[in-house]
């Protein structure tokens, strides 16, 4: 049997490399078992994951594997006796995490070996580009994309065919195709998974795009924080070149295209397309005024087209299966599937690809298994710093650009962070404003000063220093920033504040008028108390208190001195009897 270790970044962080090393050390050259790697399987909550294959049949999926399991895994793979690994085999219930998904962009993730071009080719890889180059005109390619209804997966949801067509129509021989892999949204890792797990799919999608718009040069702008993605993509580009799939006269046709990687240097604003272009040119990543749009005047002032990784990842599938097949999935105005990074207070966190039109409830409860520790669902954050929080009442909202937009949030690039009753929504808004205020490039005043003022107000509110009229002032600032900011970062920065005010206004009011944090999160607005009845006098809390604010003797109820208490919450964490209450 073949032993395959899931080796995406999160798998490795969870210990996949150690497992791989342990397996490698045990396998002798005479062993009948082989060892290989694959990318991200997407079930982050079960990492590290090891699969056992017989040919192309998955015989067993082993989860939460540790180095100690290596010996049994090797024995099982050599003998075929799967009872040896029964204890770590995935449960039927966990298998539903994947069986409820529809994978297009992620179709090869966790299946093929991302370091081997042959694996991709044997999974119908590079067939779409061959068909395109030998049988189709660029206009026909654009027509197929138009039929598919594919829209930009980076967040804004602009029709892909329209951008391609605009770049195609622009005058000039020198055109550029750029892939935006600067996935800066905190809480999102879809694009990283695609590059790490299926880099050739991205290359093929980009080649098709380059052919459609008439570009001879393609650049992938990858976030510097993704070293493994960069390494795997570099390797894939070299393999594709060696096979004549990149470079001059690709597949013996007249079409030539070079591809290179540019590593970003850490700036969220570079996800905005004109800022990304500035960064590609070696300058500070500050957005340009639009128009002119990149399709007319982009990289080095030449017509350029920029798409997100997931958008390109869908393209080869669409060309092979037809635009109609893609458009058959989804809703009237949102076609195909969308990948989400499901995280936060969720039982089963990971990568989820579902057809548009599924409800948030289905994703969170059916696929994600509901809320951690069976707590109460409070809100789901979508779209990161540009998006918003969607409350419980709207859990049946369908995943669709228009429906999500109506809630005040956005589809976004795919971050889906689930929050439970212990998350303070004012603090959440503050968290995002802190992020955008730091990441604002400073070019335009509404964003540079506006986000800072909003952050100051939110900080004041969470400290219990909020004043009557603060919420109204925030709303006024939000509108001004939305209208006045130069680029998407500033224009959408108010969204986290606006949605939390819209759905959780009572929480803002409680902070301001009653000086209370209903979620018991804001340290300045809570205090701890030990329940005399429940306390057994074990003295553990007193020992752990870093400022010696707890007094009491063995077997007698303890008391917290609130004048000394720094509200670190240690006592509550360590108490085995649940005697420490937050009030």
């Amino acid at each position: 049997m073949r032993i395959v270790v899931g080796s995406g970044s999160c798998g490795i962080a969870a210990g996949a490399q150690k497992v791989y090393n342990a397996l490698e050390a045990l396998l002798s050259s005479e062993s009948s078992a082989e060892l290989g790697v694959t990318g991200c399987i997407g079930m982050c909550y079960l990492e590290p994951i090891v699969d056992l294959y017989e040919g192309s049949d998955l015989k067993a999926r082993l989860v939460k594997v540790s180095e100690k399991d290596a010996e049994n895994i090797v024995k099982a793979a050599e003998s075929g006796d799967l009872s040896l690994v029964e204890g770590i085999t995935i449960t039927a219930e966990d298998e539903t995490f994947l069986s409820q998904q529809t994978r297009i962009a992620l179709r090869h993730c966790g299946v093929i070996d991302p370091t081997q071009i042959e694996d991709y080719i044997s999974a119908d890889g590079y067939k779409a580009i061959e068909k395109v180059l030998k049988e189709m005109t660029p206009e026909e390619v654009i027509e197929v994309i138009k039929t598919s209804g594919l829209a930009g997966r980076g967040g804004a949801g602009f029709p892909t065919w329209f951008k391609w067509n605009a770049a195609r129509q622009s005058k000039g021989d020198e055109k550029y195709l750029i892939c935006n892999a600067d996935e800066g949204d905190p809480g999102a890792f879809m694009d990283r998974a695609v590059i790490e797990s299926d880099p050739h799919n991205l290359i093929e999608g980009m080649l098709i795009g380059a052919y459609a718009i008439g570009a001879k040069e393609a650049v992938v702008y990858v976030r510097a924080e993704y070293p493994l993605a960069i390494k795997r993509l570099e390797n894939a580009i070299a393999q594709a070149k060696a096979k004549g799939l990149l470079g001059q006269n690709i597949l013996g046709t007249d079409f030539s295209c070079e591809m290179r990687i540019k590593a970003g240097a850490g700036a969220f604003v570079c996800g905005e397309e004109t800022a990304l272009i500035e960064s590609l040119e070696g300058s500070r990543g500050m957005p340009r005024l639009k128009p002119p749009f990149p399709a007319q005047c982009g990289y080095w002032q030449k017509p350029s087209n920029i798409n997100n990784v997931e958008t390109f990842a869908n393209v080869p599938w669409i060309l092979l299966n037809g635009g109609e097949a893609f458009a058959a999935m989804g809703t009237e105005n949102s076609k195909g599937t969308k990948v989400f990074a499901l995280t936060g207070k969720i039982k089963k966190g990971g990568l989820v690809e579902i057809p548009m039109g599924m409800t948030l409830r289905e994703v969170i409860y059916n696929i994600g298994g509901g809320i951690k520790d069976n707590k109460e669902f409070k809100a789901v954050q979508m779209g990161g710093p540009s998006g918003g929080c969607i409350p419980k009442e709207l859990l049946d909202t369908v995943i669709d650009y228009k429906a999500l937009g109506a809630t005040g949030a956005i589809m976004g690039s795919g971050g889906m962070v689930v929050m439970d009753e212990s998350t303070c929504m004012v603090s959440m808004a503050k968290f995002f404003l802190d992020f955008t205020a730091k990441e604002s490039c400073g070019k335009c005043v509404p964003c540079r000063i506006g986000t800072k003022r909003m952050l100051e107000i939110l900080t004041r509110i969470t400290k219990g220093e909020g004043k009557e009229g603060d919420v109204e002032l925030l709303e006024e600032l939000c509108e001004a920033i939305k209208d006045g900011a130069l680029c998407g970062l500033g224009q959408t920065a108010p969204n986290p504040v606006l949605t939390t005010i819209r759905y959780f206004r009572d929480e803002y009011e409680a902070h301001i008028s009653e000086k209370k944090c209903p979620a018991h999160e804001c340290a300045d607005l809570i205090s701890y108390e030990i329940d005399k009845e429940t306390c057994r006098g074990c003295t553990l809390c007193a020992k752990k208190c870093p400022v010696s604010a707890i007094e009491g003797s063995l077997k007698n109820p303890h008391i917290i001195d609130n004048n000394k208490c720094i509200k670190c919450g240690q006592c509550k964490t360590v108490c085995k009897f649940g005697a420490v209450k937050t009030i």
Binding site: S9, C10, I12, A13, A14, C44, Y45, E47, E183, G184, D185, P186, G187, A188, F189, R192, A224, E225, Y226, K262, A263, G264, A265, G266, A267, F268, S279, L280, E281, G282, S283, R284, G285, W300, A341, T343, G344, K345, G349, G350, Q381, G384, G415, V417, M419, T423, M428, F431, F435, C441, P546, C568, G569, Q570, T573
Partner: protein
């Protein structure tokens, strides 16, 4: 052009291969600075002036780029660079408490280095290991599902390890 402060004396010859490879390719400034940081561990002032001179940029333009992106450091970092994730999932799962615990344990704030040169703390945007949140990365090694106590014990272990080697 000489370094204006005169404090830093970097071996500029180390950068020569990088400059000869990239100086004529337009738009390579960020790449050159990334390679320079790989060599020196940070961007010393004299290196910034040197890059400016060799690439035909003003020192202000190079400094502007170096200060715009979070990847670039103008100060040397400690032996252990702690990158504490501040992504949304980590925030929801209590990264603020981890930060407070680390700051108290080491007596430094975000962006600072301990006096013994052992630890530098840097709060970063998402590291993308959301299912292990809260997470920190120390010199390529990822530590997940942190609690304040767990974070402190990891730091103590590293401190001991560094002590043993000396």
């Amino acid at each position: 052009m000489n370094c204006c402060c005169g404090l830093e004396q970097s071996d500029l010859s180390l950068l020569a291969p990088v400059l000869s490879e990239y100086k004529d390719t337009k738009g390579s400034l960020i790449t050159i600075l990334q390679k320079a940081q790989d060599i020196y561990g940070y961007l010393p002032t004299d290196v910034i002036y040197h890059v400016a001179e060799k690439t035909g940029n003003t020192p202000a333009k190079v400094m502007g780029v170096a200060t715009f992106y979070t990847q670039f450091r103008l100060q040397p970092v400690g032996k252990y660079l702690i990158m504490l994730c501040q992504g949304t999932a980590c925030h929801v799962n209590g990264s603020e408490r981890i930060e407070a615990a680390i700051c108290e344990e080491l007596g430094i704030k975000d962006g600072e280095t301990t006096a013994d040169g052992l630890f530098t703390l840097k709060c970063v945007a998402c590291l993308g290991c959301c299912s292990l949140s809260p997470v920190m990365m120390i010199n390529e090694e990822t530590y997940g599902s942190l609690t304040p106590e767990k974070a402190i014990s990891i730091l103590s272990d590293l401190r001991e390890k560094a002590g043993d080697k000396q």
